[in-house]
Symmetry: C2
Subunit: 210 residues, 2 copies
């Protein structure tokens, strides 16, 4: 296995709680699993610590990020801040192409979500849903004109997922129903260029995690 594949595999495992929170990640052990040297794993873990999925401390190695209620609300509040600002700027600067991309991303997302709302066992499709959800939210802020904001948002999003997966929740039918209308509200407000409504819709979408 090469570096990019190891990176993707570890990122996926960290985002799906394949490691328990705070668990030590030892290059010398993961090495065996990937058939590479310990230094290669170390390299990958250093890069994952940039994203915030992994904790790194000098001379004491790597750990899967801990998940606590405090950190959950911290990540959520930060995500709200970035997404509200990104959406505000996108509404100010984004043109028709942005609207079209946003509409397309929402269409894909809502299609997946309506299937999940019916399914009894959505777990195996959560990865697919998460990707579509990220694409929607990222597209929302994509016209903000700030690469730094976009990059930071991406990092925050994966940390958000990492915090949430370990917190079990009942994916009852009405769970996805709620999510569906929340995404719809964000889309509607964004296309209407209603900044305050959109900020509210973003907050309402995430407030259950505060």
């Amino acid at each position: 296995m090469h570096t990019p594949e190891i990176y993707d595999d570890l990122q996926r495992k960290l985002m799906t709680a394949a490691f328990s929170p705070g668990e030590k990640l030892k290059p010398a052990i993961l090495q065996g699993e990937y058939g590479c040297s310990a230094n290669t794993v170390r390299d990958v873990l250093l890069r994952l610590s940039k994203v915030g999925l992994v904790d790194f401390e000098m001379q004491r190695g790597f750990r899967a990020r801990a998940t606590t209620p405090e950190r959950r609300t911290d990540v959520t509040r930060f995500r709200i801040l970035l997404e509200q600002e990104g959406a505000r700027l996108s509404m100010a600067h984004g043109g028709l192409p942005w609207e079209a991309r946003l509409s397309a991303a929402h269409h894909k997302l809502s299609h997946i979500e309506s299937e999940l709302a019916q399914s009894d066992h959505p777990e195996p499709y959560m990865g697919l849903w998460s990707d579509a959800e990220f694409e929607f939210h990222e597209t929302l802020i994509s016209a903000c004109g700030s690469p730094l904001l976009i990059e930071t948002y991406a990092n925050t999003y994966v940390q958000f997922r990492q915090q949430m997966v370990s917190q079990e929740r009942d994916f009852g039918a009405n769970y996805f129903q709620a999510i569906i209308s929340e995404h719809q509200a964000i889309l509607d407000a964004a296309l209407a260029r209603n900044v305050e409504a959109c900020k509210c819709a973003i907050h309402d979408h995430l407030k259950r995690n505060l």
Copy 2:
């Protein structure tokens, strides 16, 4: 030289434009300067890329971050966003200890600044000033209750400095006079818990870089 020292040295060099913007940073060459192996330098550069001072691309190594007008305004706007929100939350949650720390940080900063305002050649003291300035701004947001916001702000601050040093500016006497009253305005608004005034003061302090 050990890793922490190499890290500090490279960080300082990157923040004082000892490397030209976009310059390639080759482990094999820096190795000689520090008397260590190339991999050790690589390790340090990976960590500096987490902070945003260094650009890293797979299979094509490291570069000192480029400085462009676009990036300057991007970093500045992001810094304003984070500092305004951090200050707002600090004013809401910070107690007397926070006020005391902020007051102390401002006192140190303004002392340095009034000396700089008189000096004809402030360059050698810019590092000292930068440290004090960071401490003041960091203290301002320190009671916000969001470790993620604080960490991101710290990264953004060093990137801000990196962008600014390469852009020469006239440090005339009135330059520091302006800075002094801007910091005073931020302090006054923060201690008065006047959120809107403080946000304005933060914006006014940084708007010259937009």
